[in-house]
């Protein structure tokens, strides 16, 4: 069964790049550009990996709310938080809400790919993770 990935990012170019990153044969990607869309997707299925921006549109803590909901709805999911505002408050709150990784923008796609592969999720940059396991 393919691994399911949820990408939540309000900046189109970044969201699209991330979708492309996770474009691999055994990975199923869903994406959302806003908090309501993200919550909607989270309510419908559990994800293996969630990559979320912290600030979503006007909501400075949108990503934190996503993490809170994911804790209930996708408790097994690995969460990678991405932010252009890497202050101590955001870092601390992300950790408390269960984010496994906290990356500053601009992040290295290779790094995201390698973190994903660590958790068995294939990416375009690192396909065939399963074989490597």
């Amino acid at each position: 069964m393919p691994k399911s990935v949820l990408i939540i990012e309000d900046e189109n170019s970044i969201r699209e790049a991330l979708i492309e990153l996770f474009d691999a044969t055994d990975t199923a990607v869903r994406s959302a550009a806003s908090l309501p869309d993200a919550l909607h997707l989270l309510s419908r299925q559990a994800f293996h990996l969630i990559v979320t921006d912290i600030r979503l549109g006007a909501q400075a803590d949108g990503g934190l709310q996503v993490m809170g909901a994911a804790g209930l709805l996708s408790p097994e999911a690995v969460v990678i938080a991405l932010t252009a505002y890497p202050d101590a408050d955001n870092r601390f709150a992300s950790q408390r809400l269960g984010a496994t990784y906290f990356l500053e923008k601009p992040a290295d796609l290779l790094r995201i790919a390698s973190l994903a592969s660590r958790h068995g999720v294939s990416t375009a940059l690192m396909p065939g993770v399963r074989d490597a396991e």
């Binding site: 970044i14 252009a84 923008k105």
Partner: protein
Amino acid sequence: MDAFARRVLDALPNTIYTIDLDGSITSVNQAWSRFAESNGAPHLALESDVRGRPIWAMIGDAAAREQVERAIVLLRSGRVDAMSWEFPCDSPTERRTFLLQVAPLREGHTVTGFVLSTIDITPSHRAREALIDMGTALSRTIELDRVYHEVSQLLRRAIPYDGFALALVDEETGEMHAAHSAGYDDHPDELEHRLAPRWLEAMAEGRVVVHTTPVHAIEITAPMQSRTGVLGAMTLQSDSIESPQRLQEAERVLAAIAGQTAVAIERASLVRRVEEKGRLEAIGEVAAGIAHELRNPLFGISSAAQLLRFRAREDPVVDRNVGRILREVERLNGMVTDLLEYGRPRPLALAPGNPDEIWDEVLESNRGLLEMRSLALRRVRAEWHGLPNWEIDAERIAQVFINVLVNAVHAAPAESELTLTSSILPTGGWRCTLHNGGTAIPPDALARVFELFFSAKQGGTGIGLALCHRIVDEHGGSIAIESTPEAGTTVTITIPSEEMAERQQATAGR
């Protein structure tokens, strides 16, 4: 009138005249005669000319006449013993102020006449007025240069001077520097050298000191004392102070003016500091806001480039160009990080520390930087054996040291020597200078090196030194750069002693 009494009256500098109850003049002294002569009324100069004539004929203006009449009525009633008032009495060439005193002449209990006496009080009147004007002017003045200007202008009105110099103590070195001078012909350095002992004497004694110059002019020096301490001293040279009374008065006036000036200088410096701080904070806020917003598009660019590299991984041209894009993204991101650092309103985490020990760490961890360009570093370390006397945020001071070190390394010619010298100032402050023999920074660039976004360096962002300046400033210290083609470039960083920093804080918080 007996001869002795007559001689006494004639010897007095005051103009003295007596009148009977009807207001007819009964006697005048010699000062009267001199006064009449000099005021263009020689026909009234001799006692014989005026005796028996009504005093009213001599008082031109109605208001003055009324005032004398009122005084006479009051004095006659015995309710008051004497009356005095100031009145304007301009000569054809000069604005003057006189003091008039009136007292009754008695025989037994009966008032038989009055004695009037006038004296020219123009100089002290002028001094008093100038003092008041200066108080008003200085209370509005918040620019240092303006303070100096007002003081030297108004002082001239209070005490006509030939030379005036105002000196401030350098808080760090304890040395005196002339901040302003007027009227002196001497070269500024010579003047400073000659007057410094006077300034130090007045400051040490906490009072006005008087000296006579070789050319017999009088030099009066007053300490400038404010609430927080003594800021400096001011000296006034005059060769028109002809009497001990005038001198005493000049001393008093100068002391008062020095006090007013000290307060005004302190306020002006404080305003300048607060304004500068506000300006930096505003710039920082904007910078941080922009920096954050730049991180998203940078991420978009780098992600797209990385995906492109992956898709066209067989194509060396794509690979090379993607590499360029990613390097530029990295450079921009470095600038963004610096900007965020600059804009971050992070309070200092102060703890007692020795800046030389921070240099030890910085040099240790940046040895590779020097080796890369085959540079040597000569270190002359301050002698300090006691507990650290400085309150510093070690992390941020290290940031400053790294920044100036990197700049010095880049500027130094390969295989040359850098010199790092530290010393303890008389005030307890710590100072270091980092010298390199690189190409001089052009004077116009030198004046702006600490400005945000100003950079004279290829590829520089103009944030590093602005950040250094901010951090050192937050410590109450200073950073300066000197650069000449002959001597190379020297950065000087000063950190005040704990005590000095606290005093600055106290002033700023008032």
